[in-house]
């Protein structure tokens, strides 16, 4: 039946993927990747943009002729006005429909020389110097941006930790921050390995990812918190199972969230890289794309398993887990349900649903009194004749 297909189960939040149970695998994979990433960062380093090395770039309209013409002209201008500077790279970039440009990067010139070179280029190419765009950055600029970014990172981490501890609990805060750090490390690793250029825009983007990575984690943890509220009151599930269920239930949400977040960023990347060739948009788009994809993976595979590990050290949770296991042992079926990874989707789907109903009932119960909204919903439930729309739903796929 189609309903057992992964997509369909994902759709209904019943994928039954054993994510928390396989945490050793994830942690090992993550540790390996971190080693690779760190190794690459240490031994290969990053390819830094001119903002870090210092340098100039000039954008000359393509109307001046071929790229060679632009390059020789630029070299000429540099010789006469640039005091030993030379052209480092030359590339053609699109103008997004507004004309095309050659971008010529040179070694560092001081402000006066840069201006002189621009005017000289205008003379050589016979265009108005006002048509030649130029950028000049000193080598200190990149490091200033970076220092600021690091400061921002520290402040943000402190704030967000406080927030998460208040909003959730310390284990969740720790797990979320851990996932965040992993995310940063892995993203920088990718940058180092692939050799994407690192510019100040990249660093901004990296900071934005922080918000996003946590966003994802918060969505999952919210569900975990809901599923495990009052978990010690009955003996159906261990904490890990409840957490795993939460991941599965919010998997579709996570996927959708990530896809929806990635789509516009993909738009930025497409336009930035495809049409503009270089600059803020491309740098931002790339780092956001890579980082958000990472954020999705780490929030699923690292944050929740780590949360389970941390929670399992809690004596109350430990005792609870033991009770669940002893109860299962006495029930003794043919197969121990304690291993939720068993590849039997049909039956698996059954089990957590039952547990979920219990857990949710437990969670919902106090709410009825606490929230007037719940009262009404309860009333609605009473009058529901089995859900009027259900049969229609059943027919679908």
């Amino acid at each position: 039946m189609a309903e057992t297909g992964l997509a369909a189960r994902l759709y209904r939040g019943e994928a039954g993927l054993n994510i928390v149970g396989r945490r050793k695998v994830w942690f090992t994979v993550a540790a390996l990747l971190v080693l690779i990433a760190l190794g690459s960062v240490i031994f290969r380093g990053f390819s830094l943009g001119i903002e870090f090395a210092g340098g100039n770039s000039f954008q000359v309209p393509t109307s001046v002729g071929t790229m060679e013409r632009a390059e020789t002209g630029a070299a000429e201008a540099l010789t006469s006005a640039g005091d030993g500077a030379r052209v480092v790279t030359a590339q053609q970039v699109g103008g997004g429909g507004g004309g095309e440009f050659y971008e010529l990067r040179t070694t560092q010139l001081d402000a006066e020389q840069a201006e002189a070179v621009r005017v000289e280029m205008g003379r050589i190419f016979n265009v108005d110097p006002a048509e030649i765009a130029s950028n000049r950055v000193s080598e200190a600029w990149g490091s200033q941006v970076t220092n600021r970014a690091l400061l921002g990172l520290v402040i943000f981490l402190a704030l967000v930790t406080v927030y998460l501890v208040l909003r959730f609990e310390w284990q969740m805060a720790a797990a979320a921050i851990f996932a965040l750090v992993m995310n940063l490390v892995l993203t920088s690793g990718i940058y180092s390995i692939v050799g994407f250029e690192v510019t100040p825009s990249t660093i901004i983007g990296l900071l934005t990812i922080l918000g996003f990575a946590l966003y994802d984690v918060v969505v999952v943890f919210d569900k975990v918190q809901e599923n495990t509220r009052g978990i010690t009151a009955n003996n159906n599930q261990t904490y890990g199972e409840a957490a795993n269920l939460a991941v599965n239930q919010s998997l579709m949400r996570s996927i959708n969230t990530s896809v929806v977040a990635l789509l516009p960023v993909g738009g930025i990347l497409f336009i930035g890289a495809g049409l503009l060739g270089a600059g803020t948009l491309k740098d931002l788009g790339l780092v956001l794309f890579v980082g958000m994809a990472m954020a999705f993976l780490t929030s699923i595979t690292l944050a929740t398993p780590l949360l389970a590990v941390l929670k399992n050290r809690d004596p109350r949770i430990q005792a609870h887990n033991k009770r669940v296991q002893t109860r299962r042992a006495t029930v003794t079926r043919g197969e121990t349900p304690a291993r939720p990874g068993a590849p039997r989707p049909a039956e698996r789907a059954e089990e957590p649903v039952a547990a979920e109903a219990g857990a949710l009932a437990a969670a919902a119960a106090p709410k009825v009194g606490a929230r007037p909204a719940g009262k009404r919903a309860a009333g609605g439930r009473g009058g529901r004749p089995g859900g009027g729309s259900r049969p229609g739903g059943g027919k679908r796929r």
């Binding site: 969505v219 516009p264 738009g267 109903a357 229609g392 679908r396 796929r397």
Partner: protein
């Protein structure tokens, strides 16, 4: 129907949203600063990377130890730079401080050369004690630097402004009392053997000491000893062996030269003006120190401590005198006038014979150098004890006089600056950036909408509508904020808005998935809506809170384009929350009452219902029991 507590009254919330819209767009069209036709009033302020223009980021490099200037000084510097930029006659120039040490100058429109704007540094008036050849040449051809190398970041107005012999300061009202032979101590002149404790009042003297030791190692002990032993500028042609010894000094960079004691800088002939002019901007700003500075790139002057500072000048103007020559007239502040009178008396009388013969003007009077940054921009001979406003005369053209006056009146920057980043964006490039940014935003929005229609069917239209609403709110807010607090939309800002699209769409996903959860649990869509809302609200708020938190932190600490990005992201996220609360939920509540909502085919919720044949009844049962 009277909704129970907790149940939203959709109508009221939509009305609130409508009210916000009306107010916002009234502000857009009629708030202060709105002018021109309807279309003009709808234009947000665009950053210069979108319209073309020049942006220059200056970083304060106040001291050798690299501490940030005080907020007061930075603000004062900003005002000075702003008035300087405005002196170009540029409309809409924007000069803002950023962080604790940056000043950003933005000039939309045409490209301009802003080099001088931030370059001017602290202005000092110092008596000229000695003058020596500053070519840095040694008999044997050696120095690598050519004398014409211009110092970075410092324009050299010196050359033309005041050829020394002509420039002279004359007392306009009267050459008041010339008496007062009070012996003014100019102590450091005589015992030149011991290098003055230069830079001793630097907050971190060690670092200067260490740098000096590093230089000592670089040139070698022998050269150092020879240089220290010099009492006066060495005559290398008379002593070729000394030339060899001192040769290593020719290799030093400006930064290294700057840490040497002033006497050494002056006495070692292999240190040339090229190196001296290349010193970092703040190197000789300390008024308590004797310093060495060059005039016109060839004459090396040993200057006394600064007795009058730029802050003592209240005003300077280029005016024509009786003979219709261009002169620069100077006014001092109250206490500044006293100091200036004292300085001119000293110079006029050459008290204590402080000025060396080499430094005296034609009439045997000392000269007073006007020092800006590392260079002397003018060194007029003092022609009297000046008790009132004074003039600097010379063969100035109008432009030269104006330039000098500009430096004198605005030159009192309490902070020195180095250009960190300069962007000249042409109008064509700016326009294409704008197009690309809007295109990217459009594509992003389209993709999100396609995805949501594909995935959530008719509910996609709610997403579509609220994205439109968010966009309208955001646009209005940008126009108003652009006018009220000078918010400018940059390319990075557009990127921030695009990213926020994702955030906005995410809050739907959370809500709708929650809705599906509720339906899966067996609720009717109608009763699921309020329940899903209560739970999704929590998640949405915490998730958005994190995004807002990161935007705020980024905005506060960051520099450069990051600020625009963070602001746009934060603004868009806040507005998204508004739309979530005031539009999405009420509209869903209303939607839930319609028949169409009950059709899974339309709402896309039906797929959430498990395809149950045999499973459904038992599940249902459990839910009910629970």
């Amino acid at each position: 129907m009277a909704p129970p507590q907790g149940q939203m009254r959709p109508g009221r919330q939509l009305a609130v949203l409508g009210g916000i819209f009306v107010v916002l767009y009234l502000l857009v069209f009629f708030s202060g600063g709105a002018s021109g036709g309807w279309k003009d009033r709808l234009e947000p302020r665009l950053g210069l990377d979108l319209v073309g223009g020049t942006r220059l980021t200056l970083e304060a490099t106040n001291t050798l130890d690299g501490r940030a200037p005080t907020a007061e000084n930075l603000e004062r510097a900003r005002q000075i730079i702003e008035s300087r930029v405005n002196a170009y006659g540029v409309a809409e120039a924007e000069v803002v401080t950023e962080g604790d040490r940056n000043i950003v100058i933005s000039l939309p429109g045409e490209n301009r050369d802003l080099n001088e704007v931030g370059s001017a540094a602290e202005l000092r008036f110092r008596k000229v004690l000695k003058i020596a050849d500053g070519s840095g040449a040694i008999p044997a051809p050696a120095p690598t630097e050519s004398a014409e190398a211009t110092p970075s970041g410092t324009p050299s107005p010196s050359g033309s402004a005041s050829p020394t012999p002509d420039a002279e300061a004359s007392a306009s009202p009267s050459a008041g009392g010339q008496g007062g032979g009070a012996p003014t101590p100019t102590p450091s002149e005589t015992p030149a053997a011991t290098p003055p404790p230069a830079a001793s009042e630097e907050p971190v003297p060690q670092s200067v000491e260490e740098q000096r030791r590093a230089v000592e190692q670089k040139v070698g002990a022998e050269a150092w000893a020879a240089a220290s032993a010099l009492q006066a500028p060495a005559d290398l042609s008379a002593d070729p062996s000394l030339a060899d010894k001192l040769k290593p000094f020719a290799e030093l960079s400006g930064r290294e030269v700057a840490v040497l004691p002033a006497q050494m800088q002056f006495n070692v002939p292999t240190i040339g003006c090229a190196q001296l002019d290349d010193r970092p901007p703040a190197s000789i700003s300390d008024p308590e120190q004797q310093v060495v500075a060059c005039e016109g790139g060839y004459a090396k002057n040993l200057l006394d401590v600064a007795k009058v500072l730029g802050t003592d000048v209240s005003d300077a103007n280029a005016v024509r005198d009786q003979t219709s020559q261009w002169v620069v007239s100077l006014n001092f502040t109250g206490s500044g006038q006293e100091k200036w009178t004292g300085l001119t008396r000293e110079a006029f009388n050459n008290e204590g014979q402080a000025c060396d013969a080499s430094a005296l003007g034609d009439e045997g009077k000392c000269r007073v150098a006007v020092v800006l940054d590392n260079e002397i921009i003018s060194s007029p001979q003092i022609q009297g004890v000046l008790t009132g406003n004074s003039q600097i005369t010379g063969n100035f053209t109008n432009a030269e006089a104006s330039e000098l006056a500009g430096y004198l009146s605005y030159g009192a920057l309490p902070v020195t600056f180095e250009a960190q980043e300069q962007q000249n964006v042409t109008a064509t490039l700016g326009a294409s950036h704008l197009r690309a940014g809007l295109l990217a935003a459009g594509i992003g929005m389209l993709l999100v909408i396609i995805y949501s229609f594909f995935y959530y069917r008719l509910l996609g239209s709610v997403i579509f509508l609220s994205l439109i609403l968010s966009a309208l709110l955001l646009f209005g807010a940008m126009v108003v904020l652009g006018r009220q607090i000078g918010f400018t939309l940059t390319l990075a800002g557009i990127a921030g808005i695009i990213v926020s699209l994702g955030v906005a769409a995410d809050s739907f996903v959370i809500y709708f998935e929650r809705l599906k959860d509720e339906i899966r649990e067996g609720r009717t869509p109608r009763s699921a809506v309020p329940r899903a809302w209560v739970r999704a609200r929590r998640t949405i708020i915490s998730a958005n809170a994190i995004t807002i938190m990161s935007a705020v932190v980024l905005y506060i600490v960051s520099v450069g384009t990051v600020k625009g990005f963070a602001f746009a992201l934060g603004l868009a996220t806040v507005l998204d929350l508004l739309v979530v609360f005031l539009f999405r939920h009420p509209i869903m509540t209303m939607f839930a009452r319609t028949r169409a909502f009950l059709s899974p085919r339309v709402s896309g919720l039906g797929r959430a219902l498990p395809a149950r044949s045999e499973q459904a009844p038992p599940r249902n049962q459990r839910v009910k029991e629970a």
